[in-house]
């Protein structure tokens, strides 16, 4: 092979050199180690030796004394007997660096094809299960295009199936079945096990799209639904319809956020025990926990009037009175009767009124007005063992307080871990109406009132 003589780098910072003179002539036989030419350095002329034996050939345009030559540029060739100068050697050898020269000086442009594909007779690579081997990408593409690759012959070097084989097979499938399909449709059909013939029959001559496969899948499911005998359809009650309408209206129009906290209810439990024994002895209606929560929530609302408001299209409606609705479960469904002007009423009055409202609700004789005009709602799931939850706001109110169960558990009280009666409180508020901080301040007041009933009993 022709050996290239190039301009050497004689110092680390040298970028180009001034050619001195040839010490051998074109056609001379040279031996490795012979001095071949000189280069003018900064201080002295340096003689450069040749590393290869052979015949020196100077191409056309070879450098002459005084020429400035870039490091790495071709200067000459050392040829073996019978060898000729590479094509392109006639070009100016000073036109570029060594890499550039090497490529222009290569014998000829290669005509080798880009891909060397194995012939069909080559052994086909196979995995342990007798399947041909397949590249991960080809396997993925086969899944996407719905191609069964186990029957394919691979064109990879070892017979491996590669992406182009799968794509070619997908093209062939179209021709064989005569069905044109989008890739998505083909994949969905493969996953659902729907044959291409079946699909083609539904749309003769047309391109099968995703919708066509979806229709075919749905058509399959239809009889299964009809055969279903365990299903029973109950007509909606009026209450269920109203509840559904109001709940979805609330869920879709409010910007609900739920805050939860835990309150120490030990003193509240003591209060209730005291009420129970004192009231019962006197034949009075004993206030329920719900009644107590209604009363203390009203006290908290007086402190935080922003929570006792409604969203109005014209502006924020601040209610002058505090009317508290409370959720009652009945056989017909959920009802929320309203206790009016709660701050003006004593706990004893609230107990009597709520007992009558609950009774009315359960006996279906509560008028429409009894459930209208609430400004805030309380819902209690404590009796079902629930702690925190996310109540849905009773429109057009701004907030709803969810009460959890009272449960005795270890808590830190006055620096000691002791058993305490704890209750979870959940406040859902409409962020359109009120921001997080005022809502949190309200819930914190409720928490304090649960922990220290004296605060609101004496207010």
């Amino acid at each position: 092979m022709a050996y290239e003589v190039t301009m050497p780098r004689l110092g680390w910072t040298m970028e180009e050199g001034v050619f001195g003179e040839w010490l051998k002539q074109d056609g001379d036989e040279v031996k490795a180690g012979d001095l071949l030419f000189t280069v003018e350095g900064d201080k002295a002329t340096q003689e450069v030796e040749v590393f290869e034996s052979g015949i020196l050939r100077l191409p056309q345009g070879a450098p002459a004394a005084g020429d400035v030559i870039p490091v790495g540029a071709l200067l000459a060739y050392i040829l073996q007997a019978g060898e000729s100068m590479p094509a392109g050697g006639s070009q100016s050898p000073q036109s570029g660096g060594r890499e550039g020269q090497a490529s222009t000086a290569s014998p000829s442009v290669t005509t080798e094809p880009a891909f060397q594909r194995p012939s069909a007779t080559q052994t086909v690579a196979a995995d342990g299960r007798g399947n041909p081997t397949i590249s991960p990408r080809a396997r993925r593409v086969a899944g996407e295009l719905g191609v069964d690759w186990t029957q394919l012959t691979g064109s990879g070097r070892t017979g491996r199936i590669v992406e182009r084989d799968v794509r070619a097979a997908a093209e062939t499938m179209v021709e064989q079945v005569g069905v044109e399909m989008s890739p998505v449709a083909r994949r969905m059909a493969a996953e659902a096990g729907i044959s291409l013939e079946e699909l083609a029959a539904t749309k003769p001559g047309g391109r099968i799209q995703r919708e066509d496969v979806e229709a075919a899948i749905a058509a399959r499911r239809q009889p299964v639904l009809a055969d279903e005998t365990a299903v029973q359809v109950l007509p909606h009650t009026r209450i269920r319809q109203i509840t559904a309408q109001r709940m979805s209206e609330s869920a879709h129009t409010t910007a609900p956020v739920t805050l939860t906290t835990e309150a120490d209810a030990t003193e509240l439990v003591a209060l209730r025990e005291q009420l129970k024994s004192s009231y019962a002895r006197r034949g009075l209606a004993v206030p329920s926990y719900n009644d107590i929560y209604i009363k203390l929530a009203a006290a908290a609302l007086q402190e935080h009037p922003a929570l006792n408001s409604s969203w109005g299209d014209e502006g924020l409606i601040l209610h002058g009175k505090i009317h508290i609705g409370f959720a009652v479960e009945t056989e017909r469904g959920l009802l929320a009767p309203v206790l009016r002007d709660v701050p003006t009423k004593s706990l004893r009055v609230i107990a009597a009124e709520s007992a009558s409202l609950i009774e009315g609700a359960q006996q279906e004789r509560l008028g429409h007005e009894a459930m209208q005009g609430g400004t805030f709602t309380i819902t209690n799931l404590g009796m079902y063992g629930i702690d925190a939850f996310t109540p849905i706001i009773n429109l057009p109110q701004a907030a709803i307080l969810g009460i959890g169960r009272i449960v005795c558990k270890p808590a830190v009280h006055e620096g000691e871990v002791v058993p305490r009666q704890m209750v979870a409180l959940s406040l859902t508020f409409d962020h359109r109406v009120v921001d997080g901080a005022p809502a949190a301040r309200f819930l914190n007041t409720v928490r304090e009132y649960v922990a220290e009933p004296i605060l609101w009993l004496t207010a």
Binding site: W12, T13, M14, E99, A102, T110, S135, R157
Partner: protein, 325 residues
């Protein structure tokens, strides 16, 4: 745009930063009046004086240790190793102190130290002056490892290195130092961890590092005449490594070749290949291939030296083989 050599480009970034920031100083052998064996500090001594261009005796462990201390006090030392091979004499300071100091001080101390040196095989520099060693440093948590391939990247990455509060290894291949290229005027910085798309293509991805980038681009330009469309990615920094760009390219091409002059075992190519298998397995249409320099000490003899470095014909053959897989 005006052209500069690779080393002029880094010199411009260094000069500009030193003019602005008096806490930057350079230490090394022959970097003062002489301007550096590779012209890395030419002209700076006259501008900034002997205190900021501090010639040292041959005592790598000593001056690297002192620079670590200086960096902890808030200065920005630039250690110029001339040939990077000599960094090995300071390996203990580097790995046990410089790379770990921020962690050990819970971030109270910074380590803004720039360690630069010429790497790579060429010009019969022989076995003590041809090392690259960047896979070793990329292996250690704490280092940023930068291997620019073209002059404009060298300037922008050098500027980023001078702003980094982490220790940076800035590694300049000897065969690139006097390559010329377009370099924008003025200050600019190229962030670490962003690869450069050196050439776009669709048939295969070639990740090339340092001196292999221009060679690979030249090969791919030639292969285009045969209808082969190869993409060349220059990661620019080994740590952090921009795997997102590599994975995106592999998802397009399905085939990956990593060309790196350094040793193959436990190298950058092994790391890239493993991450592509982790994250892009289903994109692969062929085995991942690596082309590396031979796993041997670097010989002095020019023909032997040529034989151990990946050359354009090796890269071309590797790409053709990959496409035939």
């Amino acid at each position: 745009m005006r052209e500069l050599t690779y080393v002029e480009a880094t010199l411009e970034a260094l000069d500009s930063a030193m003019a602005r920031d008096p806490s930057i100083f350079v230490v090394g052998e022959g970097i003062g009046e002489r301007g550096g064996n590779f012209n890395t500090t030419v002209g700076l001594y006259d501008k900034y004086g002997p205190e900021r261009l501090c010639d040292t005796p041959i005592s790598e462990r000593g001056f690297v240790g002192m620079c670590a201390g200086a960096a902890m006090t808030g200065t920005r030392p630039v250690v110029d190793f001339m040939f990077l091979d000599f960094i090995l004499d300071a390996f203990g300071e580097l790995v046990n102190q410089i790379a770990k100091m921020q962690y050990m001080s819970s971030g109270r101390l910074k380590m803004p130290i720039l360690l630069r040196g010429a790497i790579g095989i060429g010009h019969s520099a022989a076995t003590h002056h041809s090392g690259s060693y960047y896979p070793i440093f990329a292996h250690i948590p704490g280092f940023r490892v930068v291997v620019p391939a073209i002059p404009s990247d060298a300037k922008g990455l050098f500027a980023t290195a001078l702003q980094s509060d982490d220790p940076v290894l800035f590694l300049e291949h000897k065969s690139l130092l006097f390559n010329r290229g377009d370099v924008p005027e003025g200050d600019y910085a190229i962030p670490f961890g962003q690869a450069r798309m050196a050439r776009e293509g669709s048939d295969c991805t070639v990740v090339a590092i340092g001196s292999m980038v221009d060679k690979s681009v030249a090969v791919c330009d030639k292969l285009a005449e045969d209808g082969i469309s190869a993409e060349v990615i220059d990661p620019r920094t080994i740590a952090p490594l921009d795997m997102a760009t590599i994975l995106e390219s592999v998802s397009k091409t399905g085939r990956l070749l990593i060309v790196d002059e350094t040793f193959q075992p436990c190298g950058v190519g092994a790391e890239i290949a493993a991450q592509v298998i982790d994250e892009g397995f289903d994109d692969l249409d062929a085995p991942i291939r690596r082309l590396n320099g031979a796993h041997v000490p670097t010989p002095y003899s020019p023909p032997l030296e040529l034989a151990i470095v990946p050359e354009t014909n090796d890269i071309e053959q590797s790409i053709r083989n990959l496409l035939a897989e």
